[in-house]
């Protein structure tokens, strides 16, 4: 690579990623009002954006900007934890399948395919309606447990390819034990694939969490999340546009950004 494209990310992407991280970490501290406080249900309900309430207020007269900022942590945190779980499960299954080979590999991968064939949203709805409102960490676990299959397939495919390369064959012939083969040879070589898988899992977890929260099955109210803020608009999405526009834009922006990061990571991986 020439020096020019050795650059990992452009400044805009870095700044936006940094901004989102700050949002998730410091969001509640930046909020001008308490996110769950009804300010004045009589006079301040459904206020459009103004100097006092930049994102307006919802039907309980809560400040939407404060809910938006506090909700960032829940939405992004759940998505982050979910993608971590998906990455862990997917890597374990994919590596395990590729390394064992034979009928065990076939069995593992056919099971993975079967799970992949189930509509994820439907599974999520069944689980969540079955168990009732979930704690945030449980919600993240459920999201992760339904989202590891593509990672497993990616990891298995890449591991099989790596096992046929001279570098891995060299390590095998040298007599490197399986555990060290994984930690010192396969995982470093899989890193770009894992990074792509992780950002992909994150990008799919954000709208899913928001969707569930919109339906009232995700982050339990009154805790804010980007999805359940939108739900506050009830049936009048157009007239109460300010409750819808800001969280929606944030969800779309986050997903686009995650995909862009994934693209960059993928192209970095193929260079080296």
């Amino acid at each position: 690579m020439s020096g020019r494209s050795g650059r990992r990310f452009d400044r805009g992407t870095l700044l936006t990623v940094g901004g989102i991280v700050v949002l998730a970490l410091a969001g509640p501290a930046l909020a001008p009002y308490a996110p769950t406080e009804a300010l004045d249900p009589q006079r301040l309900a459904w206020q459009p954006p103004s100097g006092a309430h930049l994102f307006g207020t919802d039907g309980f007269s809560r400040d939407v900007l404060s809910r938006f900022l506090a909700g960032a942590r829940h939405t992004l945190g759940v998505a982050l934890l979910a993608s971590g779980v998906a990455l862990l499960l997917g890597t374990a299954v994919g590596l395990g399948a590729a390394l064992t080979g034979g009928w065990r590999e076939s069995l593992l991968m056919r099971c993975t395919d079967a799970l992949l064939a189930m509509p994820r949203l439907l599974v999520l709805l069944l689980v969540v309606t079955g168990t009732g409102a979930l704690r945030l960490d449980a919600l993240a676990l459920v999201l992760g447990a339904t989202g590891w299959m593509t990672t497993a397939r990616l990891v298995r495919q890449e591991t099989r390819r790596l096992l046929a390369t001279d570098a891995l064959r060299g390590a095998i012939v040298l007599g490197v034990p399986p555990a060290r083969l994984v930690t010192h040879h396969l995982l470093p070589a899989l890193a770009p694939t894992l990074a792509v898988a992780a950002t992909g899992a994150f990008a799919s977890a954000v709208p899913l969490e928001s969707g569930l929260s919109y339906l009232g099955l995700g982050v339990p109210t009154p805790l804010p999340s980007w999805g359940n803020i939108i739900a506050e608009a009830e049936s009048d999405l157009l007239r109460r546009w300010w409750v819808v526009v800001f969280p929606t834009a944030a969800i779309i922006g986050t997903v686009l950004l995650a995909n862009r990061v994934a693209d960059r990571v993928a192209s970095q991986g193929s260079d080296s």
Binding site: M1, G3, R4, T165, G170, A171, R180
Partner: protein
Amino acid sequence: MSAPPVALGVRALGVTFAGATHPVLDGIVLSLRRGEALGIIGASGAGKTTLALALVGLLPRGARYAPGTERHLGATRLDALDDHDWSTVRGRRIAMVFQEPLLALHPAMRVGGQIAEAGRLHGLTASECTRRMREGLELMGFAEPDRIAARFPHQLSGGQRQRVLLAMATLMRPEVLVADEPTTALDPERRDAVCDVLTRLRRDHGTALLFISHDTALLRDQCDAVVALRDGRLVNAPSSDAAAADAPTARATGARVIAADPAAPTTRQSPSDAPSPNAASTAAPGTASAPLLRVEHLRVGYGTPDAGGDDADDVLRDLSFTLARGEVLGVVGPSGAGKTTLAHAILRLIPPRHGRVVFDGTDLATLDGETLRTLRRRLQHVAQDAGASLPPHQTASAAVAEGLLAHGIARGAEARASAVALLAEVGFPAARADARIDTLSSGERQRIAIARALGPGPELLICDEPTASLDPDRRAQVLTLLERLRDTRGLALLLISHDHAAIARLAPRVLPL
């Protein structure tokens, strides 16, 4: 008649790697006219490959060009190009043949498709791509281009891959071809054929050739001028006249190397060791004990049976031989004869279709994972693409120490010290033991690979072309080292090579494939 125009002009080219105090290349000046060939010679680690990469704009991350560097391709100033511009120049106007062919080919794509892709990227029609791809493969000496085109890189031998890369690089008839050791993986006949192709490209298409090698005789023979790269500078650049004056001696040297081939039988110990498969299948005289390695009726092929793989696809057919402790057996054969396949089959990297590999009385196919792993301590390998067989992100000492750790021979600081000692034994400087492998030259990697294989203390070492990427000094060093290991450690060697002189020197018995 006026001189042909300059195809490639370089002034004040310097390159420094991140964190290094000394530049890898410094003040390089070159000028190459249309149809001309310039040979660049240099010892292992002199910066030959870095020079080639700098010319095609593919320096690794962290490398910096010196200010004032000027690279001109015809009328195009290469230094001013961005990535997109480069993609229209590289491959079309300036092409490169890499030293390690396995690293340069996509592992999951059939080679025909890879060759044709080069044409499609530069705007040729699909049918034109296919036509040129077949023509290129034929030029490179493949009798059945379609059969080769349908294979994946791992199904080709080292020499075949090298020729595939050449076919790919020459597809667009570039103005300049940078060839980094394009013939080291080839046997003498294929080498001559490839050189003929390069000559024809220069003559018919006016391609200017930058030929990097450590084979002085070959360069003198092939190039209009030869310059040496030493410590990052071009030195001792003889004028064309001087090169011409040297040419007779160069040819004489070349002739001597070839002459070593017929002379080889005279160095063999006794007539009973004549190089026929039958002779090779009997144990060497005087070894009453069981052989260390016994290969019985080995048949190996690629192409899976359900994908129409049949006997005709077999690379090895009914091969049998034995190897005694402390014995050196040479394995020779033309490119594609199955030399590396044999090594992989013995190491149980590929399953044979038929036959057995018995190491010290144990049929390797019967071993489970852990038993096989433990046994690998006694049976080590120096791969053909030694550079590719090492973990690129590790340091030299870590890569060597890994074999000691894997078999519980040493741990921690002790393992590192042993690794440095092993590196010293193969002539690798201790001061560079902590350099990352991907920053080292291919000659250095070759020696690391040998040190790594010696670490576990093997009884049998399979060396696949151990001298191919080394300059004459290093080559002599490695051969002396192998000789010493045979004599002091009683190491048995399976020496795969097309270096006839090396085989003649080390191997009393030869197995032709």
